[in-house]
């Protein structure tokens, strides 16, 4: 259906196309409603939910303010446990590290479990160029890999697809008899991916949390594919954003109470793998490589207000709660991270010049802030990014090393718009002028054609009703009643 990849720059068009797709909007509505119900039920059973959120936010705020020290502690302890820690300034460097590891070991058959960081750096495409494209093993990720698409949700990558569409895809790509039974489709995935797991020589995963105190990485999942990926191949490569580090092993408890409940409404996902160095004696891989990824994060750390963006634990709750995401889904954002978190994270990772539209994709209703398990003040950050986008300010982001610092386009306000605001300001500064203007407007709105406004206002009206003035102003009624 899509011919070119969507980008944030074409957000308005992407959104309109999504809204016109009844299958998509129906699937999204069902899914986000279900998620919201499950989450509400799960957190309703936790008496100290708010204290947990406060605690998690405090742990993250502390850690990010001392991130350099915690990264060094994490690296020292992971290394001591036998892991090899690599550092990547940007996507290209991270992909090159993984590619070189695979090349040096002659690894040809790669498997991968779900990871947003590897989506962010487009690792699959980079490895495919080298003839080593990993097989995605999470069911949702496998589906979209078969379809040649990208994830539209952080937790449920194929949320935009109906079971009928997935059934048709399996008929097309796997040659199986038609079925839209999730049970049968999942069984097919189990059978097919078994063969890949059995033959795999290198496994790639993400990291949900890295513990500074012990050098442990934690990977959380439901399907068992991440356990397969981090157990069966001889080499395990874990890609971890530098913001994923937390101070203490015991802090995992706090985050494990918050993340599954916020994400899927489970009290715990089926599996958590806590890996401290390689574990050949325990039947695991011979080598564990951890790739610490910056890719714009160190610049976000430097911005005191925006720093909290990095507290995100990728639960997806803000997507499910967002009326914009609920209506258009993830692809319209044209970014790996969609929804409210994507609207603040993407412009900071990519720069406002290319993703400056995203902070405007919000009604600022605040639902995202209410559900965020680490209390990120997303609406305030959206407003600040809007301000910076309009003012043409630089955001703390550089797309790649060596590139000149980028700024968003300076003030887009046109002369006519500026004149309009000046007139508005002049009219509203004087009660007499305001009365006169509203009297004219009341007369004017009686004319049938008058409400179809002109020029820029017409665009504003394409999705909104202009407010109607009351036949008798409140001011007059107040005076009348007081008499």
């Amino acid at each position: 259906m899509r011919v070119s990849p969507l980008t944030p720059e074409t957000f308005a068009d992407n959104a309109r196309a999504a809204l016109a797709d009844a299958t998509l909007t129906g699937a999204l509505r069902r899914a986000t409603d279900t998620f919201a119900e499950r989450r509400a039920a799960a957190i309703g059973a936790v008496p100290d939910w708010q204290e947990l959120r406060t605690r998690a936010a405090a742990i993250k705020a502390h850690t990010l303010a001392r991130l350099d020290a915690y990264l060094e502690e994490f690296t020292a302890n992971a290394t001591k446990a036998g892991a090899t820690v690599h550092w990547a300034r940007d996507a290209a460097e991270a992909c090159a590290i993984v590619r070189d590891l695979a090349q040096a070991r002659g690894s040809k058959r790669l498997v991968k479990s779900k990871s947003m960081a590897t989506e962010e750096i487009h690792l699959n495409a980079a490895l495919a160029q080298d003839g080593r494209e990993p097989v995605e093993t999470d069911l949702g990720e496998w589906i979209i890999q078969l379809a040649g698409e990208t994830p539209s949700h952080i937790i449920v990558p194929a949320i935009h697809k109906t079971k009928e569409q997935i059934g048709a895809l399996f008929v097309d790509k796997l040659g199986i008899p038609p079925s839209s039974d999730p049970q049968l489709l999942a069984a097919e995935a189990r059978t097919r991916l078994r063969a890949h797991f059995a033959a795999a020589d290198l496994g790639i995963s993400g990291v949900n949390f890295g513990v500074a105190e012990t050098g442990t990485i934690l990977v959380l999942e439901n399907e068992g594919n991440a356990r397969m990926t981090t157990t069966l191949p001889a080499v395990h490569v874990a890609v971890m954003g530098i913001e994923k580090v937390i101070p203490r092993f015991g802090d995992l408890e706090t985050f494990l109470r918050l993340l599954p409940r916020s994400g899927t409404g489970q009290h715990l996902t089926t599996y958590q793998s806590m890996l401290t160095g390689p574990d050949p004696m325990g039947q695991g891989p011979r080598e564990l490589h951890i790739v610490l990824l910056d890719n714009g994060r160190s610049r976000i750390v430097a911005d005191e207000l925006m720093r909290q963006t990095l507290a995100c634990i990728r639960c997806g709750a803000c997507l499910n709660a967002c009326p914009v995401y609920q209506s258009i889904g993830g692809h319209a954002y044209g970014s790996v991270y969609p929804g409210p978190i994507g609207a603040i994270l993407t412009p900071q990772l990519q720069g406002l010049h290319s993703a400056g539209t995203l902070p405007f994709a919000s009604s600022l209703c605040g639902a995202c802030k209410d559900v965020c398990p680490v209390k990120i003040d997303i609406p305030s950050l959206l407003l600040e990014l809007r301000r910076r986008a309009v003012a043409g300010e630089q955001v703390p982001a550089a797309p790649s090393r060596g590139a000149a610092p980028t700024t968003s386009k300076p003030a887009r306000r046109k002369p006519l718009e500026a004149l309009g605001w000046r007139v508005w300001s002049w009219v509203t500064r004087s009660p007499a002028r305001f009365r006169l203007a509203t009297a004219f407007a009341r007369l004017g709105q009686k004319l049938p054609f008058a409400m179809r406004l002109f020029g820029p206002m017409r665009a504003w009206q394409s999705s909104r009703e202009a407010p109607k003035l009351a036949a008798r102003p409140f001011r007059d009624r107040w005076r009348g009643d007081a008499r």
Binding site: D68, T137, Q183, A186, E223, G250, H267, L268, T270, T276
Partner: protein
């Protein structure tokens, strides 16, 4: 400048003069639950997750029950870990069933119908089995077969997640290089959020709570 120095330098420069909010103190583990309460909760949560929990008297009864399960399920190949509780399992395995030790070839282990392992701890609150690799080689037997049978001493059943994290740290380090939490059979809801039990990991989980593991 290498990447490590560049990233750490950028972070350090960016944080120069930043105020550091305090790290909250560790959570105090709650008062332990009575053993009957732990068993009841663990059983209830496991059932909700699609697991089966059964009580057995001692290690011999546990092995006998496993042997019976193998016969009932018609297993051909069984992967067992080297858990001390399972030391006598061989005596109870039906004659036509191949019993694979943890160091059996990977190709053979991939063919196992049933995996039998111990667990180092259980967590009642979340219906979780904690597999720590230091004392038992159970990573493959607990993962590859469609049915995972676990023997867990009642003595090792903890009340809460907090108790588990306290137990899991020895002298600051984690209790094992690989610690796996298992709460029920594998599952997915990736297709229209419809729950499907049994994806890549085991499709079923059977827990035998051993009262007397001496």
């Amino acid at each position: 400048m290498n990447a490590r120095a560049a990233i750490l330098g950028a972070v350090r420069d960016g944080l120069r003069g930043a105020s550091v909010p305090p790290l909250p103190p560790p959570v105090e583990p709650p008062a332990p639950l009575a053993v009957a309460e732990r068993i009841a909760r663990f059983t209830a949560v496991q059932q909700k997750l699609g697991g089966v929990v059964e009580a057995v008297a001692d290690r011999r009864a546990a092995c006998a029950r496993v042997g019976l399960l193998l016969a009932q399920k018609g297993a051909a190949v069984v992967a067992a870990s080297d858990a001390p509780l399972l030391a006598g399992l061989g005596d109870y395995v039906p004659a036509d069933v191949a019993l694979l030790p943890p160091d059996a070839p990977r190709e053979r282990l991939l063919q196992a119908d049933i995996g039998v392992t111990g667990a180092q701890w259980g967590i009642a609150e979340t219906g979780t089995l904690v597999l720590a690799s230091a004392d038992e080689r159970h990573r493959l037997a607990s993962l590859l077969p469609a049915l995972h049978v676990v023997v867990l001493p009642v003595r090792a059943l903890l009340g809460t997640l907090g108790e588990a994290f306290a137990a899991l740290q020895r002298d600051g380090a984690p209790a094992a290089r690989t610690i796996t939490f298992v709460s029920g059979p594998s599952r997915t809801a990736d297709i229209e959020l419809t729950l499907v039990v049994g994806v890549h990991g085991p499709k079923a989980l059977h827990v035998l709570l051993v009262r007397d593991d001496g």
